[in-house]
Structure formats: structure tokens, C-alpha cells
């Protein structure tokens, strides 16, 4: 596809990214926020993998008789990024569990009210 | 000639499998209550999956690919019904009521 239409993939990814961003900033529930972060992260992964794709290329595992491969470098970066996303998700959820134990709620608005009262 | 026969066999298998998947999905979308929808899921879970995998196996021929497909077949034939069974049991426990016709109380 030629012209600006060849960019449709990036645009949809940006819409996805903004969906995650919206959840993070607009929703008061802390677990929902982490889900939003997860959605955001996943769309960033899709963005990178989109950039790695080469038209008519194939997966970067060397095979006889194949000449054109997709770019392996973004794949490596994203592979490790996915593992880091697991680490951040786990830590975030652990923090949410602790917040729930000390505040009795996971709603951001309620936590603010409690903080101002004390 | 033999090759063509195998091709036709696998295509028929793939097509019928695809029809089963579609029927199951329509059932999931359209059926009125949870338990009948669960019934529809099992159509695509067993018959559709099996036929599509068999079709792919015929295409794969005698190779590592077919071994992996067989392994997948083995896994799916166990996981699908187990998951559906667990779902039905959890739904009964969670007090999901079956659909009853409104007029014939």
C-alpha cells in the first residue's frame, strides 16, 4: 500500500495505546489502572513488531531457500520488554494488595479522602 | 493422482471443520442462556477442532509437523471438555439459572 494509507497499522496501534492511557488516567480503580498499563504496553509491543515487518519477508529463523527475513532486532527488544512488563505488573499488583490492606479500598478517590482526613 | 486425492480429502476436512466452528460461534452468540451456549461451544471445541487438525495433518504428511499436530490434538481433546465441565460446575455453584420459557411456568 502506498501513500499515507500504508501507515494504517501505526494509527490503529496509537488508538490502542490511547485506550490504555485513558484507562490509566480516567479510572480511579487501581487494578483497572494496571490493566490500562498492560494494554498500553502491549500496544507499544505491536508498534515495534509492526516496524520490524518487511513486506514478503518471513520469520527470522534461517532456512534454506529463503532470502528475505523480517528484522530480528525489534523482536529481541520486545521479547525482553514483555518479560519486564511481567515484572512491573507483578510489582504493581503487589503494591495494590498492600494498599488495600492498609486503606481497605482500591479506589483512588477514597484513598485521597482518607489521606486528607488524617 | 494420490496427491490430489489427499488434497481433496484435507480440503473437505478443513471445510467441514470450518463449518462446525462457524455453527458453534453462531450458537455462542445467539443462544438464549448460558447452558445452551456452553453446548454450542462444545461443538466447535471437539468436532471443529478435530476436523481442522486432521485436515492439517493430511497436508503435513509424515513429518515432525504431524507429530506436533497429534500432540496438540491430544492436548485439546483433554483440555476442551475439562474446561467446559469446570465451567458448567462453576456456573451451577454460582447459581446461574437455566433458561425457562416465560409462558409455560
Amino acid at each position: 500500500m502506498q501513500g499515507p494509507l500504508g501507515l494504517y497499522n501505526y494509527w490503529i496501534v496509537i488508538v490502542l495505546m490511547m485506550t490504555g492511557f485513558y484507562i490509566v488516567i480516567a479510572r480511579p480503580n487501581l487494578i483497572k489502572k494496571i490493566v490500562g498499563l498492560f494494554v498500553f504496553q502491549t500496544s507499544v509491543f505491536i508498534f515495534f513488531i509492526t516496524m520490524a515487518k518487511v513486506e514478503d519477508g518471513t520469520a527470522p529463523i534461517i532456512q534454506e531457500g529463503v532470502n528475505l527475513y523480517s528484522n530480528p532486532l525489534p523482536h529481541v527488544l520486545i521479547l525482553t520488554a514483555i518479560v519486564v512488563s511481567l515484572a512491573t505488573t507483578a510489582l504493581g499488583l503487589a503494591l495494590v494488595v498492600r494498599i488495600r490492606e492498609s486503606y481497605g479500598t482500591i479506589n483512588e478517590d477514597d484513598i485521597h479522602v482518607q489521606d486528607e482526613a488524617s | 493422482m494420490i496427491g490430489l486425492a489427499f488434497d481433496i480429502l484435507s480440503w473437505v476436512s478443513l471445510l467441514i471443520g470450518a463449518i462446525f466452528l462457524l455453527v458453534g460461534a453462531i450458537g455462542v452468540l445467539r443462544f438464549p442462556d448460558f447452558y445452551s451456549r456452553l453446548h454450542a461451544v462444545s461443538v466447535s471445541d471437539t468436532m471443529g477442532t478435530a476436523l481442522i487438525l486432521v485436515g492439517l495433518m493430511i497436508q503435513g504428511g509424515l513429518s515432525m509437523v504431524t507429530v506436533k499436530l497429534l500432540l496438540m490434538f491430544y492436548f485439546m481433546i483433554f483440555t476442551g471438555p475439562t474446561a467446559v465441565h469446570a465451567l458448567a460446575e462453576a456456573a451451577i455453584e454460582g447459581n446461574v439459572k437455566p433458561f425457562a420459557r416465560k409462558t409455560g411456568q
Partner: protein, 95 residues
Amino acid sequence: MYIVVSVVILISITMGLVRAYRGPTLYDRVMAANMIGTLTVLMVSVLGFLTGRPEFLDIALVYVLISFVSTIAVLRVSANRYGTARDDATGSAQE
């Protein structure tokens, strides 16, 4: 032929997604997620043949396992959360 099958699978995934969104009960959503898992497995297998590199079936195998384990996990959580009194009775009787 592979194209036809993958299009059918994509249509089915769409229907499953609509069911997962509409609910109405949690179990409907779990069921839809489970179905989408199965369909994704099939689509990845078909895609391998479509692109001419069917040796990537390992991915599909992982999908089978993962969708099964996450279905079981959500059912166990919901059983602990919404489970009826029967659940607690057996639990405490054994203690």
C-alpha cells in the same frame, strides 16, 4: 483453502468477542475467552501452513496450555469468591 478457514475463524472470534463483551454472567465471558483461545490455536496452526512455514506449531501448543490454565484459574477464583455456603462447609469440616 487456508484463507477460507482463517476468515471463518476470524469471524468466529468476532462473535466470541461480542459474547465476551455482552456477558451477561461472568461464566459467559469465561466461556467466550475459552472459545477464543481454541480458535486462536487453530488460527495459528492454519497461518503456519498459509505462510508456508508450518514448523512453528510450538506456539499453538503453548496457547493450548495457557488458555486451559487461565480458564481453570478464573473458575477457581470465582468459586472462592461467589461460591455458596456449601464450599465453606466442606472446607471447615475438614479443618
